[in-house]
Structure formats: structure tokens, C-alpha cells
């Protein structure tokens, strides 16, 4: 999706509410919004730097266990990130990778959804389902905003 809005939902769909990010990306995909493409993944990996570098804007969608119990959309800037033991990158790190390797990173946001159940299972809790709907509306609003600026 060159120069459009890329929505990346990430999380484990076998850990109940952790799968809310992919669920949001799936719901956005079904909307068929012009200039919007989606990706679902369990975790963020370095190869995502390539499609990110080609996107005009990007939204990372993830579950959040932070106390602030609301769907939250905030701007992200590219940043280098240390990798310790795991395989996953973080959104700002991926943006930094896109910038470092491909020379550009999109304007980006982090969309987090409050969750309460990260146990084994593939059903979202009521909390996450409520957040899912709000998150999809947040993506739509962002899409409208970008369109009003001539993007995506």
C-alpha cells in the first residue's frame, strides 16, 4: 500500500484480549476504506519496515494493560530500540528501522485498547469488544482527517 494508510494490528489471537489488535485490523479491512490496507500479526518483526516505509501513514493497534481505561490514539516518532532476548520489535523501533534502512518512515500513531483478560482462549472480553468498536471508529476518524489533508 504505497503512500496510503497502513493499519497493523498485532497480538496473540490465542491469548484472548491480546488479540484485539488483529481484530481491529480485521474489522477495518472489512470496511474497505479507500487507500487503507491492513496487516495482522502476532508480533512486530523487522520485515514490516518495508511496507511501513512505503506507507503514507500508519496506525499500530495493540492491547493495553495500562490503568487508563480508554481507547487511546497517540502520535509515534521513529526511534532506535534495544533488542534484548525476544524476537519482537516495538512500533517506534520499526519506524526507526524503516527510516534507517529505507530512508523514510510514515507519519504514525499508536492505538491502544484497554483489556482485562490475557488468558488462553480466542474470545474477547466485553471490555475488549467495547474497545474494539471505539478503536475502529478512531481509525475511521483518522482516515477522514488524513483525507481532509489530501491523504491517503
Amino acid at each position: 500500500m504505497d503512500r496510503g494508510l497502513l493499519v497493523i494490528g498485532f497480538g496473540s489471537t490465542l491469548r484472548r484480549d491480546d488479540g484485539v489488535g488483529p481484530a481491529v485490523a480485521g474489522a477495518v479491512e472489512e470496511l474497505g476504506l479507500a487507500g487503507v490496507s491492513t496487516l495482522c500479526c502476532t508480533q512486530l518483526t523487522p520485515d514490516l519496515a518495508d511496507p511501513l516505509s512505503r506507507a503514507g501513514a500508519a496506525v499500530f493497534v495493540d492491547a493495553s494493560v495500562e490503568r487508563a481505561a480508554r481507547v487511546r490514539l497517540r502520535r509515534l516518532d521513529p526511534q532506535g530500540s534495544g533488542q534484548v532476548l525476544g524476537h519482537a520489535a516495538d512500533p517506534r523501533g520499526l519506524l526507526g528501522l524503516a527510516l534507517g534502512v529505507y530512508g523514510r518512515a510514515p507519519e504514525a500513531w499508536m492505538l491502544t485498547i484497554p483489556v482485562r483478560d490475557l488468558g488462553f482462549g480466542d474470545q474477547l472480553s466485553d471490555t475488549a469488544r467495547l474497545g474494539l468498536g471505539k478503536a475502529v471508529r478512531a481509525v475511521r476518524a483518522l482516515h477522514r482527517r488524513l483525507l481532509s489533508r489530501g491523504r491517503p
Binding site: F10, G11, S12, T13, L14, R15, D18, L39, C40, C41, T42, Q43, L44, T45, P46, D47, A49, D50, D62, A63, V65, G80, S81, G82, Q83, V84, L85, G86, H87, A88, A89, D90, P91, G93, G96, L97, G100, V101, Y102, L118, G119, F120, G121
Partner: protein, 474 residues
């Protein structure tokens, strides 16, 4: 006074890994343990479900090796149906597994390990990562991403864009390769070869400058386990199990993976949720074995393709009998990438990959089935028991990180013994301990969603449980 140092990566989901280093009263390292959450939660979650759904479900366990779980699960389903799958389906499953090996090994070598190897142990964590690598060699960083994408391209050409396709199914696979997919893969081959050869050269340079690490990072006698073909060639999806020892002698061969329990036992350690498998005949802990790239290269006699076989011959000269240093996992990984690319190239010329004869149909003909496949990190077993309706009554998943548990403990202990003195764990020493674990590329993504870097909490705990010192990194 005995003390314990704990290196504790914090994750937001329950279930995480940590490293404990035990010091004796003199401040010397007496032992070490690497703790990882095990899969029991997933296993229970699967009970009661139809075995036919398992490839799709288990593929969602892990974001790094979904294909490995899917393929092992499909093979367990084949056994429950008691069918031989069509040759084309077997070839296509193999092709996808090769893509999985390429993408996973590329991630491990270039993005996780190369920063340590190229930037050095003394580089701070903020620099000793892929961003530091970009600064040091941007073209290598770009090539690394492309190589991983090549592996992903193979997987997507077969399974589609969805990240966890239930493409493999009990009895076969759902779709063949298309000619367009074949062409996309074929066009990528020259670049994939070039990047891998470049990395192999880099790896040899690293080995020359890291002789100490090769001696200390997990260099000890152990057994090695992996699948081999009937003629002893490298295997990754079929074949039988072979065990060799550190002298290179074969101690058990052509073992049907379905009878793995006759050869492998699992020890339970009080301090860890993770069981410690060992080769039963040699007992615990003498039956410690390693799996994964190092083990696969140790147990096989050739790679089945010319360029990788030439690399294998040179590799085997790095040891006496077996190559016993876990630091050589990195180099073994690259040889496996090369082998995988060669096997991919060969598979593309096989007309069977376009066949429409892809599935064998049957009901439940056996109440028990085991599927084994070589995941990038090592041999993966899916062991299912079903009722007459095909609903799972028992599920056991034995994963590479478990197989290597004892060896990872031993590796951390060996590194720590060499570098840790009393309560002093300077940054370069922590880096080396981390890297000792990285040699095995343990996959924790099943247990740690870990959106972002995992901070590390290092705690020094006295025998009374009191935290003497705590350092948080990341």
C-alpha cells in the same frame, strides 16, 4: 554465603523467561538456570477440539514459527487418519518449511545476533541492536530484511497473505503453488544466494575473531538429536530421528518419531515450569542433548545439495567428531539457509508442486498420532490422543526450547563461571550471558507478546530471599 543473581525479562503477559545465576559462598558461579513458560496452557486449551482444526489453531501459538506448528500438527493428523499423504502435498509442505527456516534463521542471525557479533560486547544495549547494525553496515541491514522477506514470500506464495494460514491440513494441503508464485520465488533466488554467501563470509570472519567465545559459549560434550533421511542426509520435515554423541558416534538411529517417548524422558526441576528432556538411556542429566541447526548439522552426513554440503564439510572440520560449541549455532544457521535455498530452487523445477492431487481423505483410524518436524530451533513434536469422534482428549507439544533447556542452563553457567566474579556483573558480561542464550535462539513469543523491547531486571538475591542488588535495563 550463597547468592542468586536473577536476570528477569519483564513481560506484560504472565509467563516469561528469566535467568538465575547461583553463586556459592566464595562468589563463584555454582550453577545457572534459564526458565521459560511451557505450553501446557495451550495444550489444555486444545483439548476437546477436533484434531482437524489443530493445524490452524497451533499455527497461532507463535508469531515466529507458525509454519512449524502447523506442519507438525498436520502430520499428527495424518497419523490419526493413518494415511500416506499424496507426494505433491509432501513436497509442498517441505517447500513451506524451507521458507520458514530461511525467514526464522535470517531474523536470528542478522537482527538478533549480528549486532552482538559486529558491534561487540562492550557496546551499550542502546547501540548493540539492529539500529547499530544499520549505522555500521546499512546495505547488510537491508539485505537481511530482504532475506527474511524471501522466506516469507515462499510461505505466502503457498498459504496466502494471512499470517497463520491453515494451509496444511490432516491428509495433505489445500492449495498447490501457482506459476506466478513460482516465478516470484525464482526471481528472488540470486539475491538470496548472494546475501547468504555474504553472511557466511562474515560469519567466518567472526569466528576468527571470537575464538574465546567459541571455547566458552556452550562448549561442552552433549548428545545431539535431529531428523535424518534414510541415507543420513539432512532432513527438515520427514525422515527418522538420530542421536549422536560429542565424538560424532551415532548412538541411536532411524527412530520412528512416533516412538520418541521410548528414548526421551522429561525431568522436572522445582525452580522452573519448563521440563528438561534428556536421552533416557543415559539418565539425567547425563542424557542432555541439543537440537536445532548445530545438532542437525552434527547428526547428518550431507545436506542433499552441493553448495551446502561443501559448507557442511568445512563445518565438521571445526570440531573433533561433533562440533560442540553452541557459539557455532550461528554458522550452522547460515549453512541451513543456504541448504534451504538450494532445496527451494530444486523444488521449483518439480512439476508436482503444481499438482491438484493434494489431499488424502479418511476418518479416525488411530486414536493416537504423533507429528514431528524440524522447526528452525529444533525438533518439534505434536502428540495427540483423540476419541472416536476425533475430539482431542490429550495434547502434548514438545518444543525446541524445551529440548535445549539443559544445554542453555549449562551454557549460561559456563559463561558466568568465566566472567562473573562475586556481585560484579558489568554490562559486557551481561551481554555475553544474553548472547549465550541467543545462540539457541529460544522462541518465547508463545508466552510473551512483548510489544517492544523486553526490559531486563537483574537481581542479586541472598539466601534469605533478600534482594541485595537490582539493575533494570531497557
Amino acid at each position: 554465603m550463597a547468592k542468586r543473581i536473577v536476570i528477569d525479562p519483564v513481560s506484560r503477559i504472565e509467563g516469561h523467561a528469566k535467568i538465575s545465576i547461583f553463586l556459592d559462598g566464595s562468589g563463584n558461579v555454582s550453577d545457572a538456570e534459564f526458565h521459560v513458560v511451557e505450553f501446557r496452557g495451550f495444550e489444555r486449551f486444545c483439548e476437546g477440539r477436533p484434531y482437524s482444526e489443530m493445524p490452524g489453531i497451533t499455527a497461532r501459538i507463535c508469531g515466529i514459527c507458525p509454519v512449524s506448528h502447523m506442519l507438525a500438527s498436520a502430520k499428527a493428523g495424518d497419523a490419526i487418519m493413518a494415511v500416506a499423504i499424496p507426494p505433491a502435498a509432501d513436497k509442498l509442505r517441505r517447500l513451506m518449511n524451507l521458507g520458514q527456516i530461511i525467514q526464522s534463521h535470517a531474523l536470528s542471525f542478522f537482527h538478533l545476533s549480528a549486532p552482538d557479533l559486529i558491534l561487540g560486547w562492550d557496546a551499550p544495549p542502546a547501540k548493540r541492536n539492529v539500529f547499530g547494525l544499520i549505522g555500521a553496515d546499512p546495505s547488510l541491514a537491508r539485505a537481511a530484511i530482504r532475506l527474511r522477506q524471501f522466506g516469507q514470500e515462499i510461505i505466502e506464495a503457498l498459504g496466502g497473505k494471512k499470517i497463520h494460514p491453515a494451509w496444511a491440513t490432516p491428509g495433505g494441503v489445500r492449495e498447490p503453488l501457482t506459476e506466478a508464485g513460482r516465478d516470484r520465488i525464482r526471481n528472488w533466488l540470486p539475491e538470496a544466494y548472494a546475501t547468504t554467501e555474504l553472511a557466511l563470509g562474515l560469519s567466518l570472519t567472526v569466528l576468527e575473531s571470537h575464538e574465546e567465545e567459541a571455547l566458552i559459549f556452550g562448549n561442552f560434550p552433549s548428545l545431539f538429536m535431529g531428523l535424518v533421511s534414510p541415507d543420513g542426509s539432512w532432513e527438515h520435515h520427514g525422515g527418522k530421528l538420530r542421536f549422536t554423541d560429542s565424538t560424532g558416534s551415532v548412538i541411536a538411529d532411524q527412530i520412528d518419531p512416533a516412538s520418541y517417548k521410548d528414548y526421551i524422558s522429561e525431568a522436572v526441576q522445582e525452580s522452573s515450569y519448563l521440563k528438561s528432556p534428556f536421552f533416557t538411556a543415559l539418565g539425567f542429566p547425563g542424557g542432555m542433548y541439543r537440537v536445532g541447526p548445530l545438532a542437525r548439522l552434527n547428526v547428518c552426513e550431507r545436506m542433499g545439495v552441493p553448495r551446502a554440503t561443501a559448507q557442511l564439510r568445512a563445518f565438521k572440520q571445526m570440531g573433533r567428531g561433533s562440533v560442540t560449541s553452541s557459539f557455532l549455532y550461528h554458522h550452522a544457521r547460515l549453512i541451513e539457509i543456504l541448504a534451504a535455498i538450494e532445496h527451494v530452487e530444486r523444488a521449483l523445477d518439480d512439476p508436482d508442486v503444481f499438482s491438484s492431487d493434494l489431499r488424502a481423505d479418511a476418518g479416525v483410524n488411530s486414536l493416537h498420532g504423533v507429528g514431528a518436524s524440524e522447526a528452525p530451533r529444533g525438533t518439534l513434536f505434536h502428540d495427540y490422543t483423540v476419541d472416536r469422534a476425533g475430539l482431542l482428549t490429550k495434547v502434548n507439544l514438545v518444543v525446541a526450547t524445551g529440548h535445549n533447556n539443559l544445554a542453555m542452563n549449562r551454557t549460561v553457567a559456563q559463561i558466568a563461571r568465566h566472567y562473573v566474579r562475586d556481585e560484579d556483573i558489568p554490562e559486557p558480561v551481561l551481554n555475553r550471558i544474553e548472547h549465550g542464550i541467543r545462540c539457541y535462539d529460544p522462541c518465547l513469543s508463545c508466552s510473551t507478546h512483548a510489544a517492544g523491547q523486553m526490559p531486563m531486571r537483574i537481581r542479586l538475591i541472598g539466601p534469605d530471599g533478600e534482594v541485595r542488588r537490582e539493575v533494570v535495563r531497557g
